[in-house]
């Protein structure tokens, strides 16, 4: 099953049990339904599906207005960079609303444009940049396991959050592991494997790269722990720090283009708290090349990593 199909099924199932609710966004029940993300959403008893005008700032405000009325909503957004037009609400309106701990739910589900071919619009693929501006809870979906947990737990739940999905992964087969991961901090951190030699931690939407790296290291006789950090800044790094203290080797992967990457919070903590032999931080080079339409492959050279680890 494709990544987008799996998430679409989860959304429809979760929303079936949530009334009253408003589902809205541009073309969410027209055309491709955001490339299949919102396919099959239908009006129902106290459930309203709205194809809205092109009013991104207002769309964000509407969700908070619904929240203040005690009505839950999900705002689906074709491109995360459109959310730039709603930043006033993400900060100022949310800061008003959060004071009263609302019982209704408001979730924005943007497609993070990280395939690269949109050029300038792809330059903003760092999900956590949006979350950090007002300490917004944010969850990135990268595979079957985190999708199941995040959508079922957070899509309709009191409060506000952003759940990001990756355009790059939309038409790929959804990744899945043999065993269910251990979920820490209510979906902030997922641990997929425990290994003896290396700790791999993936940020933003880099779980596929982390999974591949773990498999390639295994063929070279190295067993790795594999974590994915699906939120902006977990409050509690404890479980990762424990693992790093044991393996003494940390590989951090972050595919975002921000200069304020979440992975730096972890490496700072590791240097402060752990006795460690080696830390490798694998990130993109943020240059003007990012502004041009291109494939934006974020590939990892396992041989080069092995060479560094042996030094």
């Amino acid at each position: 099953m494709k990544y987008v199909q799996h998430i679409n099924e989860l959304i429809r199932t979760t929303i079936d049990n949530s009334n009253p609710i408003v589902l809205y966004g541009q073309n969410i029940s027209a055309g491709s339904c955001i490339s299949g993300l919102t396919r099959g959403l239908k009006n129902g008893e106290k459930r309203l599906v709205i194809n809205t005008p092109n009013i991104e700032s207002t769309q964000v405000g509407i969700g908070f207005g619904l929240m203040l009325s005690g009505v839950s909503s999900v705002f689906f957004m074709k491109q995360q960079d459109f959310l730039l037009l709603g930043i006033d609400h993400l900060v100022n309106t949310y800061n008003f609303v959060r004071i009263n701990e609302p019982s209704a739910s408001f979730t924005i589900v943007p497609v993070v444009v990280d395939s690269g071919y949109e050029g300038i619009q792809s330059s903003l693929n760092n999900f956590s940049d949006f979350c950090s501006i007002a300490r917004i809870a944010g969850y990135a979906i990268t595979n079957r396991h985190d999708a199941d947990h995040i959508v079922r737990t957070h899509l309709v739940s009191p409060g506000f959050r952003i759940i990001g999905v990756s355009q790059r992964l939309f038409q790929t087969e959804i990744l899945s592991c043999e065993n269910d991961p251990t979920v820490y901090n209510n979906g902030e951190i997922f641990q997929y494997y425990e290994g003896a030699d290396i700790t791999i931690v993936c940020f933003n939407f880099s779980f596929p790269q982390g999974m591949k790296l773990r498999e390639e290291l295994a063929t070279l006789g190295l067993s790795s722990s594999l974590f994915s950090v699906n939120v902006m800044t977990p409050i509690d790094w404890l479980h990762i720090l424990r693992d790093v203290s044991r393996t003494k080797k940390l590989i951090v992967i972050d595919d975002s283009k921000s200069v304020n990457r979440s992975c730096y919070h972890l490496t700072t903590e590791v240097y402060r708290e752990c006795s460690i032999d080696r830390v490798l931080t694998l990130t993109r080079d943020v240059t003007d090349e990012c502004l041009r339409p291109c494939s934006e492959e974020f590939s990892i050279d396992t041989n080069s990593i092995m060479k560094t680890l042996r030094q």
């Binding site: 009253p20 408003v22 106290k46 309203l48 709205i50 809205t52 005008p53 009013i55 700032s57 207002t58 769309q59 964000v60 405000g61 509407i62 969700g63 908070f64 207005g65 619904l66 929240m67 203040l68 009325s69 005690g70 009505v71 909503s73 006033d88 609400h89 100022n92 309106t93 008003f96 004071i99 009263n100």
Partner: protein, 314 residues
């Protein structure tokens, strides 16, 4: 005591009392601003009292009011406890919102003020969401959102009204047009925006209110409220008014005094007094009351009110 041409003296005089209370309360706050008793920025709305008192008078239990940074007149109109307002401005826990909101975001959910934003145009979309929420929950009542001539320049204003109309949501959009955005008049900062034509282009009803006659405003608002609910559509009401409290600043460059528009903080030209008239023309809602009642009666009301308000906060 009661002039010809009006009805229901008991009800009418209470409305006038509210105008006077609103004015005196702001004047007392202005004196406190002069003494720098507040750490927070406060935007007085002297001259805006008629529309605020009229809105409060027509609001039904299920109605919701959404405000902007200049909200003091509505909060005073909806809140009978003056001390709670002062305490909020002093950021005390006894304040209207427990000292958590201050002035520019002050709301009072128990009295129907559910959201207040200090960002121009921001509150239109939140109000639209509330109107949509009412529709989904099949609740009675209407959302009333207050904004200004500065905010209607924002794209958010256009978006919000478009969404209200598109989704057949009943709401009243009140534009308080005082012609100023901080220190610039409309003609100094932009081309004219013909709000009536804008409304017409979206097939939205438009009502113009001028003259600060609170009784006429109540009648107009009741009709607008009824029509918005019957038609499931927004109504735009533009209220032409003048923010009072301007003064002249004498400098070497301006020996006769440079005109300073009142925007926020203390107005040095306003003094609290038992008869709180500021201007003897229709730009002053207190002056307009004299069309309905004898000045002596209004002065007596004002004198008693001032004693009551000062006693309340001592």
């Amino acid at each position: 005591m009661f002039k010809e041409g009006t009805v229901n003296m008991k009800a009418d005089i209470k409305v006038s009392e509210e105008i006077i209370r609103n004015r005196l309360s702001q004047m007392i706050i202005n004196e406190m601003c002069k003494k720098k008793e507040f750490k927070i920025p406060i935007h007085l709305a002297l001259g805006h009292e008629s529309i605020a008192v009229a809105v409060s008078a027509v609001m039904e239990e299920d109605d919701r009011l959404v405000l902007t940074h200049r909200n003091i007149h509505y909060n005073l109109a909806r809140n009978p406890c003056f001390k709670a307002e002062i305490d909020e401005y002093l950021l005390k826990s006894e304040g209207l919102a427990g000292g958590r909101l201050g002035a520019m975001n002050l709301a009072n959910e128990r009295r129907g003020i559910v959201y207040t934003s200090s960002i121009l145009g921001n509150n239109l979309s939140v109000a639209a969401g509330m109107a949509l929420g009412k529709k989904v929950k099949e609740e009675d009542g209407i959302v009333i959102v207050v904004t200004g001539d500065g905010a209607m320049e924002e794209g958010a204003f256009y978006e919000g009204v478009t969404f209200l109309k598109t989704c057949n949501l009943n709401a009243i959009v009140i534009v308080e047009n005082n012609e100023w955005s901080l220190a610039t008049r409309i003609q100094e900062r932009r081309c004219p925006i013909h709000l009536d034509r804008f409304a017409s282009s979206l097939d939205v009803d438009y009502v113009l209110l001028t003259g600060n006659d609170v009784y006429a405003y109540i009648t107009a608002l009741k009709q607008a409220r009824r029509e918005a609910i019957e038609r499931n559509a927004p109504v735009i009401i533009e209220v032409k008014l003048r923010t009072l409290g301007d003064w002249r600043l004498k400098t070497e460059e301006y020996p006769d005094g440079k005109f300073i528009n009142y925007h926020a903080g203390a107005s040095p030209s306003i003094e609290v007094s038992e008869w709180p008239l500021i201007r003897e023309d229709d730009s002053d809602p207190v002056f307009v009351l004299s069309r309905y009642f004898e000045i002596g009666q209004l002065r007596n009301i004002s004198c008693d009110m001032l004693n009551r308000l000062t006693g309340e906060i001592q």
